[in-house]
């Protein structure tokens, strides 16, 4: 078996994690400060009650039982009273613990809820780029695995820690009062225990790190092989795939075994060191009691009890160490998400309801008119102008790259007049999708300008910019909810009548009505109960109810069979009427009647014009359309 060389714990990792932990505590205190103070008080009460209980044993033996031994007619009343008093103290301890548990549950769940929502709120504001560059599984794991590590930590480790700390302090005080020399003996043994803990926990920590890495390695192999399982079968490649798996599986076993072994050993080591501490205290205490006589029998008995209570919390804290390390890493990942830079939105031009009078004068109004205008405040001369929203789009020398070292679009210029249909054709990777992703500022351009109705899109508030264009993608994304909810996604306050109208426009009304519950049919898992074509029709209805002046269709019909496609195409045609549309498609019929066709190649527009122009040019488009190679 290959021996795993564990990756050494990196100092900067620990530092980062510790910083995250600090931040988590600040978060806890700012939201649940009062709760935590009450919890601390409760812990103090229950620890005191518990300590008082340990002391009670001494009083019981020294003050009540010893004097009565040999007495012919023992008076049990004082004993009964003492026990009664203890019952009251214990009762308080029990109630304090109950209160502590209930409040901690609130604090824990409240914190998790707040963090989850903070993460989600923040996530919704992150740029598309974030989602491109982070595996979706990782993002989702923040909400489950990482949050769960915090649950363990806040609900168990934190109170345990507080409890142990308070216990240690109170017990230490009691011990010092009973016997200073014995306290030193105990403290020495505690030092030994802590050293042992540090050693062992360090070992197991290293292997835990190795285990994380080996898990990732096994995971990625499983994932790749499961995805290619059918290819494996076709090539009879099963034995090789198993062989590679076994090697990785063995490595994981090795690190998991060692990590768990050291973690398991910690408890018995500390427990036995605790016993050694007891014996040492007993021997030295015995010597003191017998030879110096300044230690009573009851006091020594009590001290030995304290000795146990002192080592126990240290033991318990060391048990929590792994949880704390894991929670620190989890907190770090959560805060990393919360620190991600949000999509910048410094636009100030907004979209408002408007009316137009006979002179073409645009006035802003409160109520919904169906007419929209861009409200543009000019700082220079402190005036506000209104520009009717018509859907004219202009690209002017636009350059763009997803990252600095690779430019994807080069000097793109185009003009779309209101109501025009612009089509893009070109190979995968030519930059078609990239171009249309820039209009609504999913990505920001490096050079050049994009204007809508003559206004630079950078000046427009993002929400208002996006409000003015509808998007239908090849992969439809539907959300859990009813069919009507999904259409209403485009306009939250839409009436049932409006929903139906939009569905009719998109040719979706027919199939929706045939669904078991019609418009109230629940959709789950991205609408798995619908066909691809039906999902696409819903996406079109969603765009229809949004009623935008600009429409963007990215391969909206490409994964649909020919019969359904006709239906979808009709829906799209109805939707495109009177709107500026940007269309990516490779069906000829969709493209041919476009007002302008852009032929793209390697990030540049190499030809443009309407179908007839391009055919006359006898260039690339002609070649594509006819399949004939032109000798240039």
């Amino acid at each position: 078996m290959p021996r795993v060389q564990p990756r050494p714990l990196k100092k900067e990792d620990l530092k980062k994690n510790a910083a995250a932990m600090k931040r988590l505590f600040r978060f806890l205190f700012s939201h649940f400060g009062f709760h935590l103070i009450v919890v601390a008080v409760c812990i103090v009460i229950s620890v005191l009650a518990n300590t008082r209980g340990t002391l009670f044993l001494q009083t019981l033996i020294d003050d009540y039982i010893q004097p009565m031994i040999g007495s012919k007619d023992p008076d049990y009343l004082p004993l009964a009273l003492a026990i009664g008093k203890m019952a009251a103290i214990y009762g308080a301890g029990i109630l304090a613990m109950l209160a502590q548990n209930l409040i901690m549950a609130r604090v824990t769940q409240g914190t998790l809820d707040l963090l989850r929502r903070a993460m989600f709120d923040h996530m919704e504001g992150l740029p598309i780029r974030y989602f491109d560059t982070h595996p979706h599984g990782d993002i989702m794991s923040l909400y489950t695995n990482d949050i769960d590590t915090l649950r363990q930590m806040v609900s168990q480790s934190l109170p345990q820690f507080l409890n142990s700390l308070i216990t240690i302090v109170t017990v230490l005080i009691c011990m010092i009062r009973l016997s200073l020399p014995l306290t030193f003996v105990t403290l020495f043994m505690v030092f030994v225990m802590m050293t042992a803990t540090k050693k062992i926990a360090g070992r197991s920590g290293k292997y835990y790190m190795a285990q994380q890495k080996d898990i990732a390695s096994v995971n990625s192999h499983i994932e790749e092989m499961m995805n290619g399982q059918k290819v494996i079968k076709v090539f009879n490649h099963e034995p090789q795939s198993v062989k590679e798996f076994l090697a990785r599986n063995d490595r994981l076993f090795d690190s998991a075994y060692h990590a768990n072994k050291y973690a398991n050993v910690l408890a018995p080591v500390n427990a036995q060191l605790g016993n050694a501490s007891f014996v040492l205290s007993a021997v030295i205490g015995g010597l003191l009691a017998i030879f110096t006589g300044n230690l009573s029998l009851g006091a020594l008995a009590s001290f030995l009890n304290f000795n146990r209570s002192f080592t126990m919390p240290i033991n318990q804290v060391s048990q929590q160490l792994n949880f704390i390390v894991m929670a620190m890493a989890g907190a770090d990942r959560i805060f990393t998400l919360l620190d991600e830079k949000q999509e910048p939105d410094d636009g100030y031009v907004t979209l408002v309801n408007a009316t137009v009078d006979e002179n073409g004068e645009v006035t802003e109004v409160e109520e919904r008119t169906g007419t929209w205008a861009w409200k543009h405040y000019h700082k220079a001369d402190n005036t506000t102008t209104y520009k009717l929203q018509e859907g004219q789009v202009v690209y002017d020398g636009v350059d763009f790259g997803y990252n600095e070292d690779k430019q994807v679009l080069f000097d793109i210029s185009l003009q779309a007049q209101p109501g025009q249909k612009i089509a893009f054709v070109g190979a995968t990777g030519a930059g078609k999708t990239t171009i249309i992703n820039l209009i609504n500022r999913f990505y920001d351009i490096e050079d050049g300008k994009i204007r809508i109705d003559g206004i630079n899109v950078n000046k427009i508030k993002k929400a208002d910019l996006r409000r003015s264009m509808g998007l239908v993608l090849q992969d439809t994304h539907l959300f859990t909810g009813t069919v009507a909810d999904n259409i209403r996604f485009g306009k939250l306050d839409a009436s049932d009548e409006e929903v139906r109208k939009a569905a009719k426009l998109a040719n979706a009304d027919g199939f929706i009505r045939r669904l078991p519950q019609g418009y109230d049919t629940m959709l789950t898992g991205n609408g798995t109960n619908l066909s691809q074509g039906q999902r696409q029709l819903l996406a079109i209805a969603r765009a229809a109810i949004y009623d935008p002046p600009v429409l963007v269709l990215d391969e909206a019909t490409s994964s649909i069979d020919t019969r359904t496609e006709k239906l979808v195409q009709e829906g799209l045609d109805a939707l495109m009427k009177g709107r500026t549309s940007f269309v990516i498609a490779h069906r000829l019929s969709t493209i041919r009647n476009a007002d302008c066709i852009m032929v793209m190649d390697q990030g540049r527009i190499i030809e443009s014009g309407n179908h007839d122009d391009l055919m006359a040019q006898r260039g690339k488009y002609y070649q594509l359309y006819t399949g004939k190679v032109v000798n240039a």
Binding site: M97, L112, V231, V234, T562
Partner: protein, 602 residues
Amino acid sequence: MIKTLLAEVKQYKKASFLTPAFMLLEVIVEMLIPRLMARIVDDGIGKGSMQAILINGAAMLALALGGLFAGFMGGKYGALASAGLAKNLREAMFKRIQTFSFENIDHFSTASLVTRMTTDVTTLQNAYQIVLRMGMRAPASLVVAMIMAFSISPRLALIYLAVVFILGGALFLVAYSVHKIFEKIFREYDNMNENVQENVTGIRVVKAYVREAYERSGFAKTSMELMKKFLHAESILALNGPMMLFSAYGSMMLISWFGAHMIIQNELTTGNLMSLMTYCMNILMSLMMLSMAFVLITMSSASIERISAVLTEEPTITNPAEPVTTVRDGSICFDHVSFSYDGNSKEHVLTDINFAIRSGEMIGIIGSTGSAKTSLVNLISRLYDVSEGTIYVGGRDVREYDLVTLRDEVSHVLQKNVLFSGTIYENLRWGDPDATEAECRRACRLACADEFIERFPEGYETYIEQGGTNVSGGQRQRLCIARALLKKPKILILDDSTSAVDTATDAKIRKAFREEIPETTKLIIAQRIASVQDADRIIVMDEGRISGIGTHAQLMESNEIYRDVYESQTGGGSGDFDEAKMSVEQPLGEEAKHGLYRKGGA
């Protein structure tokens, strides 16, 4: 169900038995130590005998050493047994999945197989370790402590017995009712996961429709619902500690009262009183552990079910008892073949298919989406089995062949094709592990892949990323064809395998097939009519039936569907734009690479 999983303990049986044995030893040591402590107090301190303290102290240290040894071994074997079981389970599942047929694979989603082999196994590993370590320790410690208590004073120990029953019942009730709530919590978790996933994968739609605020309020509701359920469960769990404390304090007070009476009447020593108190804590702690273990085990029951579902899934396609290991030639014959994916379904995907292909023929297959072209060819190498009728390859029923032989002779380039992480050579050698570099190059030349591979700086040693994301779609398809060619099969099936390759190259590949591997039967599924036009014969599929078979000229004459498709693609009516023709092959653009993560939601 649990039996299936326990069968995988195998070589870790010894560790699995030794763990509880050592835990038992540790418990006994732990129980004996309080007795020695009592002696130190009574005989040593009480009577002022330093000798007694030293003797008992030494004995206690010796016991502590024994306890350390037992604890160490118990911890070690516990880790070994649980990590070992996890390893064996992953291995068993992985091997099991390798025997799955396509039907079995369809049954489980890829994402769920991955979770089953990772998360679920980890959950089970932890549960197993707890059962081994606590399952014996807690009850043993309970029993031993009880015996010790009885041996000191049966009358006082009765108090413990009563407490154990009352507290045990109460803890069980708590664990049980919490378990019910936790089931609901898991469902709520699924909801939340789905909510997050929808937003992560659909973020473009959310942003395009400016629905961030709406989605936020939706998520807030889900998150709060989860919090409520958790709070409910935790409020019940919050009773555990106080109940324990109540029992502990209660019995301590009872023992103080009755114990005091007994000491005064000389029936009990003070040291024994102290020991009794220690046992009291031992008993209650083990009860607590038992209830915790109970909660944990019930929580892992879902994982147990999911793992055993994989392990007990029967492969639907297996080798025959006496398999035939040679295939005579590449002839194929379909004899009244019908097929449905769901064996019992009346609704057939393929209905009554009959045709015969001679060895070495080149056959084109064409038809609209959903006309069952892929289903048809999948039956030849037994990726699925027919529902009715028989398929003959080389004159024998395909079900008589050894599966490895059959699939080596029938080389299938799947529609949804995958390259694996590794160099180009490594990927090519999937087809033939012993292929020389020259053979690999030849296959690439046939598949027209040599031109672009040689342009790569590292040529055939170029490293392909997982899923083949660093080569373009057309390049990937050609590599997959080359890989299939290396098998030197008698039958080669291309399922829409050149859709991203430009027409000229496409034609070149077919020409190479014709000239260089004339013996091999070639089945080519395509969308483009140009890809099948020059085949020996063409099969036209329509809704699971054969609409016509014949040469291009014959079909143009007799088959309406074929004519329609031909006209729509060449006449410029409503065909597809041939994207592949549009540009010279180039590495996949950034936008496609960025799209890589979009699919990985689950």
